[in-house]
Symmetry: C2
Subunit: 517 residues, 2 copies
């Protein structure tokens, strides 16, 4: 008697519930290596769920190495992944033995619920709103090739030789001039080149945070930030983002970070850092007002907690007046600004930067050195030349126009195809729109159905580290052509309508508790 | 009365002693902001040391922001760097205040004794044996430019777009084929592309080690390994390297890791990993015999401790028969091999790789993703093309000839110019020779004098994390032309002879304890 008890009302998707319960049965010893488990069709019938739901659970268990399907024989429990949970046995002395129980040596039992697991599953020809990434068809390949030629001809030896942790000098210069042309009031010593936004977060982690330290950040937020802090065993404390359509408490609230909740969190926690994305926040697309920016800085100064400002989307503004960054408003020297070429340029070239007080840059530089010595210099040199020739500014202006049209297409398609009760944010830039479905719907389940019809998006749960809202999803629009946007949203709307109708009809069917014998 | 007490017999260089004692006086409050300290000439006279010694101590204190020299007025204690040692004062509420006490927020008080601090100080025209890096004048710039052109033309969009944490597929393929042509018996799933050897160490740290975990490694070793483990608060346990010329216990010992000491360390410590460089170890240049390799693997299997094999110098063999790597000998699946294009190719392109059992690669891939998403794809693509066209193998063969000639020149110069009592290792490849001076000599002090004459090397103390031997130094020869090698070693020999004569004469002069009033 192996009981699986599903809770359809839970925010945990059904397939995750199945996966986790089967895994628990293996860990507890109730299921043992060699045991046969029901075929997905059979289990789906017993549980009263769609066969896809069970198939997805099995796929995950197979990926973990916990189960294995043998054609014509059935699906069986393997022994492979259970080592971590077994008491260690005495070591053998033969070098020819089966080797190491790696699972027992890893520093963490890592959750594998990362968004990127979905990426390799993108079927050919799919319409994918999954990622927030630039439009590859607009990459200025000729210009970049010319830059690569020029820099390898003029400075090849230096580019290819071991470099400096500060960054490649010509990029530092070109970037600094570009930033000054945008109005930056800083010194070049306040600049550090990194491998991009994700690495900047890793460097900050190493420089500032020890296990158990607390960081305040928006919830939902960028999954890469959730993952790096979890890996460093840092406590992340969520500050809600308002005005995203799922806010019963403050439906008319100004969009963006809840300043009152930020202050409450500062009072209740001894935070080491506040991490924010004031412009076109990922995933919600919301932007912090000027007044709210000033309040954030005032709170940061009052509680003496530095603010890390993620600025990587800020230049992608398509409408409305630009707002000064936290860094630009910072009089107290409290802001560490993270920035990158990834969203405004080419994410395949891993180059970003930090702007911060010199003591911080000096420390980050030491951390950068022990992390990877320095950033790749060919990428730095190409971007230096691209910036120096004025092509970066030109490319940026062009892409804002492209993305503005795509955002407009997305909004028009959402207006046209979304059923009543669906809400979404109205960003003035960036790469994402955040959609909130009626309560009770689960976007992970929705994705299974849209995927069958070649349309992908990012379920909201990947962006929450607290209080997940399964009825949310993110549409990354920047890399999707307008006609595909219209088609993709039409499919999403159609699947959603069917789902909502089925939900109406089937409110009772799934609510019984089912046991698996 | 401010007492500075120097211990000339200590392994701590005199200028470090001065620096640390002045800093301690500031921290204790005996010296306060605004206090004037003696001019370097004056203090040198009082302490009976060379003026350069005091000047070096002052330079370090000034770099730390602890003291500041005003032209015509003297040198004064500043307040800037002492924040970490002061009790925190209540926070001000004004955003216009002086901001954050960053020192109190950093995760560590980081030691700044890194080798790279010496790098920016290389005077123009100096003969530098400081780094273990390739010869830039032999970089095949035309070939690399052709590769950059080809890959941007053929696959530009994919290269510039967000990529995979596994690595750029064409590089994985080209590299895997290259490794198979060398005799690798592995599967492509056992390969992960990284940003180079330093990042691979960082990924291993994150995947395997928690604060307090123990790692066994050669002492002396690569400073980047010492730094990353220290930063992760990992305990490093040293296994001595024999046959380096400073080994009274076993003067005739086979060069390389002391296997007996390795076993003793495994018995005494619950180690998580063993980190080794079997071929042309950095800094000693020693190579582990085939028998010793087998013993290492047997010990690893017996104690169930994985071995991390640093393989980055192994292809740079100029003489003698090649030895199978630990990875090639590994039957138990215990070896994680780190490798890189940095030494055999171009360190400015940050690309390396790991070979390991699939469960380890899968975990490292997840860690890689949260660390920096993926490795720069332009560098990966250029190296893929360079490898695919057979140019990498050709370049490697050429560089082995170049470096063999440089090593021969170095050995000839050492034979010719080193005084009696100086010993050095006889590597058959790699990039470093390790020199042991007679006891009592301090290579850091020697460096001050050779630097004045335009010759630089790496003092041995940077490579030890236990039991430093100040009478050692590393000569990195790969990036130095043969005639410069001869000139540089002649200067080193001359300075050393003078130093040894002065040491003879001055055994008494420095031994008195001097107080500074």
């Amino acid at each position: 008697m192996l009981p699986l008890r599903l809770q359809p009302g839970s925010h945990v998707p059904l397939y995750i519930q199945i996966r986790d319960q089967v895994r628990a049965l293996v860990v507890s010893g109730a299921l043992r290596p060699g045991d046969r488990i029901p075929a997905s069709r059979e289990l789906a019938r017993q549980l009263g769920v769609h066969r896809t739901t069970v198939a997805n659970a099995y796929a995950e268990l197979e990926a973990e190495g916990l189960i294995h399907g043998h054609v014509g024989r059935g699906t069986f429990i393997t022994g492979a992944a259970t080592g971590a949970h077994r008491p260690p046995t005495p070591a053998t002395t033969t070098a020819g033995s089966d080797g190491v129980r790696w699972e027992s040596l890893f520093a963490d039992e890592r959750g594998e619920e990362t968004l990127s697991r979905l990426l390799p599953q993108i079927p050919h020809g799919a319409i994918s709103f999954l990622a927030a990434k630039p439009s590859a068809e607009h990459f200025p390949l000729d210009e970049l090739r010319a830059c690569a030629q020029a820099v390898l001809r003029n400075d090849g030896r230096r580019i290819l030789q071991l470099g400096s942790s500060d960054g490649y000098e010509p990029l530092r210069r070109a970037l600094f001039e570009f930033l000054c042309s945008e109005g930056l009031a800083a010194r070049e010593e306040q600049l550090l080149i990194t491998d991009g936004g994700q690495q900047s977060l890793d460097l900050l982690c190493k420089a500032f945070l020890r296990p158990g330290d607390a960081v305040l950040m928006e919830n939902p937020t960028y999954p890469g930030a959730i993952a790096i802090f979890a890996s460093a065993r840092v406590r992340t404390i969520g500050v809600p983002v308002r005005g995203t359509g799922d806010d019963r408490e403050a439906p008319m609230a100004e969009p963006g970070l809840d300043i009152g909740a930020l202050e409450a969190a500062l009072v209740q926690n001894r935070a080491k850092l506040i991490l924010l994305t004031p412009d076109f926040q990922n995933p919600t697309g919301t932007t912090l007002s000027l007044a709210a920016r000033r309040q954030v800085l005032e709170l940061a100064a009052r509680y003496q907690v530095p603010v890390v400002e993620d600025h990587i989307y800020a230049r992608l503004r398509f409408a409305g007046p630009p707002l000064p960054s936290l860094k630009a408003l910072d009089r107290a020297g409290m802001v560490i600004q993270l920035d990158s070429f990834s969203k405004v340029g080419f994410p395949g070239l891993r180059v970003g930067w930090c702007l911060a007080p010199e003591r911080v840059i000096e420390r980050l530089r030491l951390v950068k050195q022990i992390t990877d010595l320095h950033t790749d210099q060919l990428a730095q040199a190409v971007l230096a030349e691209f910036t120096r020739r004025g092509w970066f500014a030109k490319h940026l202006a062009r892409m804002c126009k492209v993305y503005a049209a795509r955002l407009a297409a997305l909004e028009a398609a959402l207006e046209r195809h979304m059923p009543d009760g669906v809400q979404w944010t109205r960003p003035q830039g960036g790469m994402c729109v955040w959609v909130t479905l009626p309560p009770g719907l689960d976007s992970s389940e929705l994705l299974m159905h849209t995927r069958e019809r070649g349309v992908l998006f990012a379920p909201g749960r990947y962006f929450f580290f607290q209080n997940p809202q399964p009825n949310t999803l993110r549409l990354g629009f920047a890399a999707v052509e307008e006609r595909k946007i219209a088609r993709g949203v039409a499919v999403l709307g159609d699947v959603l309508r069917r789902k909502m109708r089925r939900q109406e009809r089937g409110r009772w069917e799934n609510s019984s508790r089912v046991s698996l014998v």
